[in-house]
């Protein structure tokens, strides 16, 4: 987590009724820049979400009193565009899609690893801060021109295939954030089911080669969790 310490503080609202999960999440983010405010009640959660400004909301799908989906619909109808991460208990194929369709930004199936949750929150926070209509993405000496899909490193043009570019673009949009295997598969390949992680390793090692075998490595492996784009 050291690479995240320098990020600006963020207020996150957690609406979740399972006390064990709440304790688990709260303890994990205790000393980080992410401040978690928790409520176990759906209606109270909706009230909090409406009255205060948040950087991100973590919303359980099934809550006592009110459904998570209803809260989300309510927020969006009041033009509150805070990024929302859904927590779904069942990995029901239906649940995932409906969450996104109703304006959710991401979802995570319980049980989840905290690193996975953390990575997804980071990604959502970054999305909220970054301007949306950029023409170029720059990180260190790498530059992607989004209009003509050209990639340059230290001014030199790199030949990168479409799929690899998509992967690189995702990294460039989320620098210094751990991107989990699941996030990479979901975003780059639209794969929403478990796949053996060495598959991803092959793609990453290819991308690393494209970025220059002898140049400073930019994509680093975070063992057991995923990959991160950073300078060191």
């Amino acid at each position: 987590m050291s690479e995240l310490v320098f990020s600006p503080a963020a207020d996150v609202l957690l609406i979740e009724d399972d006390s064990m999960t709440v304790t688990y999440i709260e303890r994990f983010f205790q000393d980080s820049h992410i401040h978690i405010t928790t409520t176990v009640d759906g209606l109270r959660g909706q009230e909090l979400a409406m009255t205060r400004s948040w950087d991100c909301i973590i919303l359980d799908r099934r809550l006592p009193g009110i459904d998570g989906l209803t809260i989300l619909t309510h927020l969006r109808s009041h033009n509150i565009q805070t990024p929302v991460l859904f927590l779904t208990t069942m990995d029901g194929i239906h649940d995932r899609v409906t969450g996104l369709r109703h304006g959710g930004d991401d979802y995570l199936v319980k049980p989840f690893a905290l690193m996975e949750l953390s990575a997804r929150i980071e990604s959502l926070l970054r999305r909220g801060r970054e301007p949306q209509n950029e023409v170029t993405l720059t990180f260190a000496d790498v530059e992607i021109n989004l209009l003509n899909r050209e990639v340059r490193r230290a001014g030199e043009k790199l030949y990168i295939q479409a799929q690899e570019l998509k992967l690189l673009e995702y990294f460039m949009r989320n620098p210094n954030v751990i991107l989990s295997h699941k996030m990479l598969l979901q975003t780059v390949w639209d794969i929403d089911f478990p796949i053996h992680s060495n598959l991803l390793a092959s793609h990453i090692s290819r991308l690393r080669e494209r970025l220059g075998r002898d140049a400073t490595p930019l994509i680093h492996t975070v063992k057991g969790h995923g990959y991160i784009l950073r300078t060191q």
């Binding site: 799929q163 639209d190 929403d192 598959l199």
Partner: protein, 481 residues
């Protein structure tokens, strides 16, 4: 490729039914008994008639002989002359030793004593061809006396008997077979209703039952028993399914908490070897969780509940994206991954994510089970009104007898379990294919294995010649091209 298999007994032929066989046997017995009874009584009446005729002849003969007193030609000649003149219904012959006619209304005969039947009359005047039955006596002076009577009644009776026998045998056979046919049809109709219901149940409508009428016959009794059995089976299946799902569902909670505790330990300054053990524990835990999630997902797909509505799918895009996902790892393993798409876009509708997972599972299976240097071919095309997707390899293949079993849950042919996997990949493939009303088959790729999936074209259902979603195994490998 879709020819009917020998094991399928539908539709059932009336002539092969047991009710028809029973009726035919019954008709056969009836025919034999009837013929026997008729033959015996016929023989008896023939015998009686013959006896009666013989009695008349005996009387006539005895009368002639007693009138003559001495049995030679000179004494018999006047008696016979009188008889020929006065008894026109009889046949008389008196001839000498040289077979010259002395008196009579017949042609000469070879002298032979006792009862004899002449097939034609030998009558001199008027000539006719009636059969005659009579008695011959050799006389003391070498002459021969014959007294006979028209035997036509016997012959007519015999002919009539044969005629009746033949007709009744024929009608017994016709009535027996027709009755057998009708009865069998009636029985078969009832049985067909039962087996249709059984087939529906096998296809997945577990809640279907046989309809009961009020006839209260043996079929109703059978149907009621079968329904009771089906009720019990359904309850058992339901409870097994429920228990499996509950285990998968309930185990996830404690396992998730276990994972959380392991996460917490990870931050407590463990030694390097402890960290290593911890990460191994996490890997094992993730595997267990993955198995449970996959089991639940398969259960959900099989039940068809909670699956989002189907959408139009660009098959090429799915095939392309999944093969591209696997390309680097196959290349690392020294395998060739070829994508061969149909020239035109194939119309398909369904669940995109599930179809992608289906394809990923198949390619993953192929790459995991094939050695370095193998070629994996992913192809698409139309087969009739079905969209065909095939994943073929030239690896070690699957023995024909195992090709159906590998679709079962948790079945792995790799006994050493050295190849990664949960044994759920093909079960998932089958569940997804069934959800889309398609078929999946494993064929011999000579060498290797070819998994062929047929899905109904968008907006259409598969025609009946493509069987309902069942797994079929075919040994020949020429089915592909």
């Amino acid at each position: 490729m879709h020819k009917k298999q020998g094991t399928s007994p539908y539709p059932f032929s009336v002539f092969r039914s047991s009710s028809f066989r029973i009726m035919a046997m019954f008709a056969g017995c009836f025919v034999v008994c009837g013929i026997t009874v008729m033959a015996v009584s016929g023989y008896h009446s023939l015998h009686l008639l013959r006896q009666q005729l013989q009695k008349v002849i005996s009387n006539e003969r005895d009368e002639a002989l007693s009138d003559a007193v001495i049995h030679d030609i000179p004494h018999l000649r006047p008696v016979m002359t009188e008889l020929v003149r006065n008894e026109p219904g009889f046949y008389y012959l008196l001839q000498d030793a040289q077979k010259h006619i002395v008196v009579g209304n017949m042609l000469p005969l070879r002298p032979q004593t006792g009862w004899r039947t002449l097939s034609w009359t030998h009558r001199s005047l008027p000539r006719d061809h009636r059969p005659v039955i009579g008695y011959g006596v050799l006389l003391d002076d070498g002459g021969y006396l014959f007294v006979g009577i028209d035997a036509e009644p016997v012959q007519t009776l015999r002919r009539d008997l044969w005629f009746t026998l033949a007709w009744s045998a024929a009608s017994f056979i016709v009535i027996g077979f027709a009755g057998g046919f009708i009865v069998s049809r009636l029985v078969l109709n009832k049985i067909e209703t039962i087996s249709q219901t059984a087939r529906d149940i096998m296809k997945g409508s577990i809640s279907r039952r046989l309809t009961l009428n009020t006839t209260n016959d043996e079929f109703e009794h059978l149907a009621a028993s079968l329904n009771a059995m089906l009720d019990k089976n359904e309850r058992l299946i339901e409870s097994i399914r429920q228990v499996t799902d509950d285990i998968a569902h309930d185990m996830r909670r404690p396992l998730a908490h276990l994972g959380q505790h392991l996460d917490e330990i990870a931050h407590e300054g463990l030694s390097h070897s402890q960290q290593h053990t911890l990460s191994l524990a996490k890997v094992n835990l993730d595997e267990a969780l993955e198995i449970f999630s996959t089991l639940l997902k398969i259960a959900q797909i099989e039940s068809g509940e909670g699956i989002p509505d189907t959408q139009d799918i660009v098959l090429d895009e799915i095939l392309h994206s999944v093969t591209e996902l696997y390309r680097p790892i196959t290349e690392e393993r020294g395998q060739k991954l070829i994508l061969r798409l149909d020239r035109k876009a194939l119309p398909l509708s369904g669940n995109r994510v599930l179809l992608m997972q289906m394809l990923a599972n198949l390619i993953e299976n192929a790459t995991n089970h094939c050695p370095r240097g193998s070629t994996i071919t992913v192809s698409s095309g139309m087969a009739g009104n079905a969209v065909m997707i095939a994943v073929a390899d030239d690896g070690p293949g699957i023995p024909p007898q195992e090709r159906e079993r590998v679709f079962e849950k948790m079945v792995r042919l790799d006994r050493s379990r050295s190849i990664p996997g949960t044994g759920l990949g093909l079960s998932m493939v089958r569940a997804v294919v069934r959800l889309h009303q398609g078929t999946v088959r494993l064929l011999d790729n000579e060498p290797g294995v070819r998994c062929e999936i047929r899905l109904p074209e968008a907006g259409r259902k598969l025609t009946r010649d493509v069987p309902p979603p069942v797994i079929r195994v075919q040994d020949t490998g020429n089915a592909g091209k």
